[in-house]
Symmetry: C2
Subunit: 417 residues, 2 copies
């Protein structure tokens, strides 16, 4: 008998009909002989409706009161889901975040989980109940209601799985797993049976919005086996697990791309010590996330820098750069938009020379010039013009052999749990 955490997102429980289907799915899992803890998000548009009401009253509401407001969305979901399970004839108990023992720091709208005391969950499981916990929320030590911010319900599920010692944490969503690239762009994109935490992190950060990076980090830290699968089908999904247990030989696992990219270039910077630290220190102080940084060689004591930020941060980043011109003398700052960052991700590439070269070749064959390059142990990213990104992704997908039938693993995810 396994202990399984099942997490359902807002679209999976968007209507009472869907809620009833989810209830049946949970009961089926119980009937297979498992102990089940469920984490659920707010129903479909509930959170947006609550935010709309708040904005009607206050365009800048205090975050403490927003947490008080928004946590009701998940509380409604857990109560209704429990009722739906009772309707099928099984015992269930719903819990708010604080009832489930989820203790967070006292930071509203983006609290981190400090501790989970799952005594009440274990008691309810011992009574034979299906346990249903409100995602996204917790309580500070002073009894203040908090929310976990973006990716909160995924994080609740993974943290609970770690706290109760679950065998697996299943994340149910509206896609049936992690794909080798976006199936809307590359028709022959393949669903992956398995992927490592690190690969998933790269893919999650790079715009595969299925699983929040924070939840993946948590899973990696506590070695929680994660499965991403569909709420709507019985397909197997993708297992996210430790790399060491995975077969070698897959060089590139997937291809991600991100259009939310602006490049800023600072030209003719006087090359004195500490220049970089001052420039990027100022950007960090302004809360601007910088992704790729490239410095060209120094000529005549002057250097050129380029870096990328999200489109939303572009104007503010230029302001910051303008503001430090006296401190960091430079000739001019320019920016470029309509770009895309294409990345190949794979834990196997560390030991495979020529992986990056193959990427550059595929991009150049598509007649596209590369504006920036960044590499990590399991990733190569290139910034290129936004058009024709589809052709480039398709070419890379083919170049790394991802179009073919899936490389054989020993068994599917089911046997690996």
């Amino acid at each position: 008998m396994s202990l399984i955490v099942m997490k359902f997102g807002g679209s999976s429980v968007g209507t009472t009909e869907r809620m009833a289907r989810v209830a049946q799915r949970i009961v089926d899992k119980k009937l297979q002989g498992h102990r089940v803890v469920v984490v659920v998000s707010a129903m479909g548009d509930t959170t947006d409706d609550l935010i709309d009401k708040a904005r009607e009253l206050n365009d800048n509401p205090p975050s403490r009161e927003m947490d008080m407001l928004l946590t009701t969305g998940e509380q409604i979901s857990v109560a209704l889901l429990s009722m739906a399970i009772h309707k099928i004839g099984h015992e269930a108990k719903s819990f708010t975040g604080w009832q489930a023992g989820i203790v967070t720091e006292e930071v509203h709208s983006k609290a981190k989980i400090n501790d989970i005391s799952p005594a009440r969950i274990h008691t309810a499981l011992d009574q034979g109940c299906i346990v249903i916990v409100a995602g996204f929320q917790g309580m500070s030590e002073n009894g203040e209601i908090t929310t976990l911010g973006r990716g909160g319900s995924d994080t609740t599920a993974v943290a609970l799985a770690a706290a109760v010692g679950a065998d697996v944490c299943e994340i149910y969503t509206d896609v049936d797993g992690i794909y080798s690239t976006d199936p809307r762009v590359v028709k022959c994109a393949r669903k992956l049976d398995v992927i490592s935490y690190d690969e998933m992190l790269e893919l999650a950060h790079l715009g595969a919005a299925v699983l929040h990076p924070r939840a993946v980090e948590y899973a990696k830290l506590y070695k929680v086996n994660l499965v991403v699968r569909s709420s709507f089908t019985q397909n197997e999904g993708t297992l996210v697990r430790e790399e060491a247990e995975m077969e070698q030989g897959i060089v590139v696992r997937g291809i991600a791309f991100d259009k939310n990219v602006a490049r800023i270039s600072v030209l003719g910077v006087e090359d004195t010590p500490g220049v970089l630290a001052r420039m990027f220190g100022a950007l960090a102080a302004a809360g601007i996330d910088v992704d790729i940084i490239v410095q060209s060689g120094v000529m005549h004591g002057k250097a050129d820098f380029s870096f990328t930020v999200s489109l939303a941060d572009r104007a503010r980043a230029l302001d910051v750069i303008a503001g430090i011109n006296t401190e960091v003398p430079y000739r001019e700052a320019t920016f470029e938009e309509n770009l895309v960052k294409v990345s190949i991700v794979g834990a196997g590439m560390v030991s495979n020379p020529g992986v990056a070269a193959k990427m550059f070749e595929a991009i150049s064959k598509a007649g596209v010039s590369i504006k920036m390059v960044s590499t990590s142990e399991i990733k190569v990213s290139c910034v290129i013009a936004a058009e024709p990104v589809q052709e480039v992704v398709r070419a890379l997908h083919t170049a790394y052999g991802l179009d073919t039938a899936e490389t054989a693993f020993v068994g599917g995810p089911q046997e690996r749990r």
Copy 2:
């Protein structure tokens, strides 16, 4: 500087516009120099919407989960109201029932309050905050979320007023006070400046739905000064307080009537000891509230009984009576509907002979026959045919001098607080 509890019902905060008006009203109270604790119900139709959702999933949902569901309604209200107050530039803090320290028995859907630990409320007041507490809800000692059932938010307000030692508990509603009778029936019905707890209890039980009897009982027990007033006007409202502090001389304070009455008659009952106890014991065991009970004299060892129940309980009451026919032999059981119970209420009638006689005279002058009579120290009730009840109420209103300008009290409610 007074400490004031203000309670707003669901229709007072039914829309965000109304919510904003309520926020201004609360801030005005604060600006008068008072410390303010607010109790608020769920917005307008929220509770009904939640119940509808629950019924879609389970026609007989567990009460624990209904409590989990319905308490979100008040939590949404307190958060939004706090935001609206912040918008006007004042500090406010919202609290759920459990955060406010409201400890109840662990009975779902109709819990009684066991204790209130208002430490967090006092801390927030000391910080200069307006405190906003979710009505209708609490927490058991085991951390289960409970609701207080009917009249719950009124009860929360009165119990909090007692716990924090408030100078007055103001119940804001959609009428501007307690009237001498229903103003929709008698045009010259007068708003009362003051009424005793006992009189209010009689009127509340008799269908003046402004204030829940349970809250009045709580107020009487803890000697909480209650004011019933309008959310929509600045009118003074009605003060509910201890009788001893009130002027004597008002014989009849108000006239109530209740159309939710069925009369059941059990005829030819064998007059053996314990007959009444067995009959009404059986009704009580079936959860049927019996109001007026009348027994005629015994003739030839047989007695006739009549009693009233609510219309909804009529059929079940007849079933119970039929079921005990072997145990309590009787000739026949009949029932009558289309009745109304008219009551005159007034603490002063104890020491005034002839009050009941005047009532019977007024009713008979209207050409109406009296079917049942019941009296208490501060009330006389007559059951009569439902038509013409308006003429009867008007006649009584005139007969007891309630049509005239209000009897002068020493000062209005304002000075009495």
